[in-house]
């Protein structure tokens, strides 16, 4: 349905998006995963025709949207990362404004406003000014504003940044409903791994403007099939310990966690005795030790050498 072909965008000689190929089927839910500055927002800005690529193309049903932006704009609903709303107006007035500019017919606009408010759980607060809302509620109105014209494709750019867990769950549930119950195609960008795991059938991982891996969750986890992940709780951590463990032959990567370290090793390698000896020689005790199932976070770490929140 929607694809990008060798999409590249440079700003002052620096490539923000570098040769990106994406494909989204109708009704699919796709996650675009990457840390801040990975090029996710630039990619979706190009897909939604807000900026032009330096090279490459975006095709909707085989037709270039770069040459004919109106074709995709008709079927697209974009939820920007910013709260793009009039704070001085009420939720209802904001939705009325966006409905009017999207040319939603006057006799159906009122119904659509109430439906979208219901969907994002703000029907009771519709008359309140947006400036009186919490961050999470604002984000929900932000989503509702993109739903009024019943778009076939929804692009959501980090819609859960900086909000409370209740609003976050509400937003995730709204996106899930849109995709599974209404058949809306969803392109969801985030740097929260668990959101993408929960919502998306396929994931594209981006870093430094490039797609470094793509596939279903299982396919991506298979990348780590030749590795084990050890989660170790310690009474303390020093840079010297991390350096020493990193120098073990079987160790691929050591990452500091809140209460210890996470070690990625070659599959089947036994480093326990060597690890205990090294840690104790630094006067640190191992308080817990477990082998964990790899997550997409581990895949990302393996592919890029950094965590999503870096």
């Amino acid at each position: 349905m929607l694809e990008t072909i060798k999409l590249t965008k440079s700003f002052k000689g620096k490539k923000a998006v570098d040769d990106v190929d994406l494909y989204i089927d109708e009704g699919e839910s796709i996650g675009l995963l990457g840390p801040n500055g990975a090029g996710k927002s630039t990619t979706i800005s190009i897909i939604s025709t807000l900026i032009k690529p330096s090279s490459g193309d975006v095709k909707l049903q085989g037709k270039s949207t770069i040459k004919n932006p109106a074709a995709i704009r008709e079927v697209l609903g974009v939820v920007p990362q910013e709260i793009a709303l009039y704070e001085e107006l009420s939720a209802y007035e904001n939705l009325k404004f966006f409905g009017e500019i999207y040319k939603v017919k006057r006799n159906t606009l009122e119904t659509r406003i109430q439906e979208t408010l219901e969907m994002v759980g703000l029907k009771e607060r519709q008359k309140d000014l947006v400036k009186t809302f919490s961050g999470g509620m604002k984000r929900r109105v932000n989503i509702a504003a993109a739903l009024l014209h019943k778009p076939k494709i929804m692009i959501l750019d980090e819609p859960t940044v900086g909000i409370d867990p209740q609003s976050r769950n509400h937003i995730l549930e709204t996106v899930r409903k849109l995709n599974q119950e209404e058949g809306t195609t969803v392109l969801y960008t985030s740097h929260y791994m668990e959101e993408v795991e929960q919502l998306c059938r396929r994931v594209y991982i981006m870093d430094h403007g490039k797609v470094v891996a793509s596939g279903s969750k299982e396919e991506l986890l298979n990348i780590l099939s030749s590795e084990d992940t050890l989660q170790i709780q310690l009474s303390g951590t020093t840079e010297t310990v991390i350096k020493k463990i990193n120098s073990f032959n079987a160790v691929r990567h050591v990452d500091k966690t809140s209460d210890g370290i996470r070690i990625i090793t070659k599959k089947g390698s036994n480093i326990l005795s060597e690890l205990v000896h090294t840690v104790e020689s630094e006067g640190i005790q191992i308080t817990n030790y477990q082998m964990v199932t790899p997550s997409l976070e581990d895949v990302f770490l393996h592919l890029t050498g950094r965590t999503l929140r870096d």
Binding site: R73, E74, A145
Partner: protein, 363 residues
């Protein structure tokens, strides 16, 4: 377009305080300035080596409203000029005078004309050979009240030539000046919406760029125009200011000025990257324009060709001049053609460059 226009107005209705503050500001400033202007009388120290000469000329000199002649010593007068406390002083002799000044200014000529006329008149009275000069002066004054020949001056359209009204000029000047702020802050909404993502949302909607700009600019025009008209109506009907009999022409020039100023604000928007940058630069630049345009001074005070040229680049000077001509002389529509064309030209050029710059920055 109307959706954008309505949303902008709804926002202003929700938080109208900035507009109300600027509207009140223009009323208060006009009142303060006109009050100050009414009491303005130039003080001129006057001195002489001969006390009798001072005693003779001082009462005669003070028979006017424009200058207040204050007797003193030569040293004090010179010190006052040196310190900048006064601009001119007058030294008197029995049949002659000398003006001392620190700079060549238009008021010097006015003082010279006044003193010269007074001395000439006195010389003529003395030349009559009579000893009773005061009686002769009285007789001449009475005779001049019904002279055998009278020169009557009429305005082109008939009737008396009205006196120049500085209060009115200050009213127009301050009203338009404050409206320039309102218009600028309204147009700056475009920058704000570009920053917070609403502009992008509108781009993705079926709304055309033309409608987006028109909706915004029309609301800026409407609010600015309404502010000026409200202030002028308050002064016309509640403060007893005489704005003349052609309010239609005043409305026309106000509309052209507002239109032109919206374009100038759009030009500023084009050069600025953020709404905050606009607010700083615009707020610092706009107060200079009335000063350069000579709006706070009587006509003819500003003669520097460079300053006059810079003033001509902004619509304010054309609008104030036209409004004064309408209010005082009721000039014809054809006489308004040139300033109107100039304001339109400023508007078209500024809007063209401004929109182009905004679009270039977006792309």
């Amino acid at each position: 377009m109307f959706a954008v226009f309505k949303s902008q107005l709804r926002k202003d209705i929700r938080s109208p305080w900035a507009i109300i503050l600027l509207l009140t500001g223009s009323i208060v400033l006009s009142l303060i300035a006109s009050g100050t202007n009414q009491t303005t009388q130039t003080t001129v120290p006057v001195f002489s080596d001969d006390g009798a000469v001072l005693e003779k000329w001082e009462p005669l000199l003070n028979e006017n409203d424009q200058f207040a002649f204050v007797t003193g010593t030569e040293a004090d007068a010179q010190a006052n000029i040196r310190d900048g406390e006064v601009n001119m002083a007058l030294q008197l002799f029995e049949d002659d005078y000398r003006i001392l000044t620190g700079s060549n200014m238009p008021q010097l000529q006015i003082l010279e004309d006044y003193v010269h006329t007074l001395f000439t008149t006195e010389a003529q009275l003395q030349a009559s050979g009579t000893n009773q000069i005061d009686a002769l002066r009285q007789a001449v004054q009475e005779y001049l009240e019904s002279p055998p020949y009278q020169l009557q001056i009429e305005a082109v359209g008939g009737g008396e030539i009205p006196e120049y009204n500085m209060e009115l000029q200050l009213l127009f000047g301050f009203t338009l000046f404050m409206a320039m702020f309102t218009i600028g802050f309204k147009v700056n909404e475009i920058s704000a919406e570009r920053t917070n993502g609403i502009w992008d949302r509108m781009i993705l909607s079926p709304l055309t760029k033309m409608s987006m700009y028109l909706g915004h600019l029309l609301s800026s025009f409407f609010v600015g125009f309404l502010q000026i008209i409200i202030v002028l109506l308050i002064f016309q009907y509640f403060m007893d200011y005489d704005l003349g009999n052609s309010f239609g022409k005043i409305v026309f020039i106000t509309a052209l000025f507002t239109l032109s100023m919206v374009s100038v604000a759009m030009l500023f928007t084009g050069f600025m990257k953020t709404p905050e940058q606009f607010q700083i630069i615009y707020s610092s630049t706009i107060p200079i324009i009335p000063v350069l345009s000579g709006v706070y001074m009587p006509p003819g005070m500003l003669s520097n060709p460079i300053l006059l040229f810079i003033a001509d680049l902004f619509p304010l000077v054309h609008a104030v001049d036209s409004l004064m001509d309408i209010a005082l002389y009721d000039i014809s529509w054809s006489d308004l053609a040139l300033p109107s064309a100039l304001m339109l030209l400023i508007g078209v050029i500024s809007m063209g460059i401004g929109v182009n710059l905004v679009e270039r920055r977006n792309s």
